[in-house]
Point group: C2
Chain length 297, copies 2
DNA sequence: CAGGATTCATAACCTCAGCCTATTACTGTG
DNA sequence: CACAGTAATAGGCTGAGGTTATGAATCCTG
């Protein structure tokens, strides 16, 4: 028969205390139970571990040699168990998350900060990549949670939540957009615009909206990063069309923003994970607060 | 509840094989048993380890993180168990032995060589010390087995075997001892003798024997090491009185030896160990062959 | 030195953890 | 769409291991 963890715990405890009786009370078992456990362990190893008579207990040479190694095993195992329970209790852990840059730089930091206030030992790994990157990273399990645009149909993924991300127009103080009753497609086509680079999901939404309306925008410039686009607006190159999720970037006195008055200027945002995959507790919990925050906002 | 070794083995095996059914057959349990073990482990850790549906099993991220650590624990433990069983089966081990120099250099090497032929992986640690040193080293448990002279009365020690060590006289070819019918006390007192140093157990036996016979020897020289005494004999300083156990030192063409014809010139040799102490298997086994060899010789 | 106290070992009994068989439920595949 | 293969569940049973009671040996104390 092979040794058992209880037998090993019994052995180490008796070795430390030098007494079956005291070890038994420490381990919350009866003294005869300990006697049997030690005997079974000795039989399993084929080696006598204690020299004992009715009054005294002492390790044999072999027993003495095994104590440290077995102690280490118990310590290691206990550490693993404690780690697992810490992770389960959100006492620590890592949230791995891929998100579109608009979110990563926009609403996400705030939500993370709020979450970490409640769970300070949880750390985050954020990959800010384009939409196709988000999907790829989840498929390869680089990341557990994804925040991406567009509708997900692939059954390999599970959509935890969907929300709308409406486009805003960002313009300098004094721009005529500020005076208009409503800024619709028509209004947008009258002014030079700063659009995101064609490879971005924001741009494809914008292009699709103009196309559906049968209009063509005046493209003054294209930017890969939203902060670049904002800089161009500040420089007077035109007005930018940026997603509402990223509106934090326009926190500048000289700029204004307002939603585009056309519901086609909307993209769908999904929180996704791999289908049939349980999230680590930390990610699971974060996904919940993320969903709730997006719903109430 | 705390995890169990069987649960951990089950987990690691399922993780490696990616299948409950195959893991079950490898572990010689039924598949439902494994299902339950994994569930219990997950409950104990508070963490889901596998994502499983009826067709496929795969590790969760947490599960994947725990596999190597748990594997290491199993490997370590298995190594300890194997080590213990090796020791028990005399596949290896160390015999720690303190012996009088006369034995250590005399009969002992031969007996050890013979023992190691049968158990080649057993190694020896020999402390060759004077009689009081043998006793002290056993008391302090520096050593498990002792080979010493004199009668042991201390109940802290257990005498495994006792044998007689008779004194021999060693003399050069041509010495008149060679022509005598018998070399008794009387004969010894007629010639200059080389005796061992007074601190040795051999000398105390010799002194006691002369005293009991009411005779005084002519002491030509004293030596601490028996090889020195033999050298003195070779140089013609006289005849030496040495124990039979050390007769191997006289393997020289120019010397002869014969037993002293007086049974008082005998010391008692004891194989001892600490009382109430089980010997390690290797020492236990060696003690047996030692006793048998001394009995048949 | 006798007897009480303490400690480990043994015995007898009992309970429930955990295994097995049988069956269900589900899913991927041809 | 049916079948084959896999994990989960249910129910019944067995034995490992626990408890209490008692024995045996040793140490301590008056």
């Amino acid at each position: 028969m092979n040794p058992d963890l209880r037998q090993i715990r019994a052995f180490v405890t008796v070795a430390q205390l030098g007494s079956f009786t005291r070890a038994a009370s420490l381990l919350n078992v009866s003294q005869p139970a300990l006697t049997v456990q030690i005997r079974n362990l000795e039989e399993a190893l084929g080696v006598r571990l204690f020299d004992r008579n009715t009054r005294t207990v002492s390790l044999t040479r072999m027993g003495r040699e095994f104590v440290p190694a077995l102690q280490r095993i118990l310590r290691d195992l206990d550490a693993i168990v404690a780690e697992a329970r810490d992770v389960a209790a959100l006492r620590h852990g890592i949230v791995r998350l891929a998100a579109l840059p608009s979110f990563a730089s926009g609403v996400l930091p705030e939500i993370i900060a709020q979450f970490r206030e409640a769970n300070p030992k949880i750390s985050f790994v954020i990959h800010d990549v384009i939409a196709s990157g988000v999907v790829a990273q989840i498929r390869e399990e680089q990341v557990d949670l994804g925040l991406t645009g567009g509708r997900i149909v692939d059954p390999d993924f599970e959509v935890l939540h969907t929300t709308q991300d409406h486009m805003h127009v960002v313009y300098p103080v004094g721009h005529s957009f500020g005076d208009m009753e409503q800024v619709d497609v028509e209004a947008l086509t009258l002014h030079p615009l700063i659009l995101m680079h064609p490879a971005t999901s924001v741009r494809s939404v914008v292009d699709a909206a103009f196309l559906a309306a049968g209009r063509l925008p005046i493209v003054a410039a294209e930017a890969t990063y939203m902060s670049t686009a904002v800089g161009m607006v500040r420089a007077g190159l035109g007005a930018a069309i940026l997603p509402g999720s990223a509106m934090e970037v326009r926190a500048e006195q000289t700029l204004r923003s307002r939603p585009v008055d056309d519901r086609r200027f909307t993209r769908e945002i999904s929180i996704i994970k791999k289908a049939e995959r349980t999230l680590p507790p930390a990610s699971e919990s974060f996904a919940h607060t993320l969903i709730q925050t997006l719903q109430t906002a």
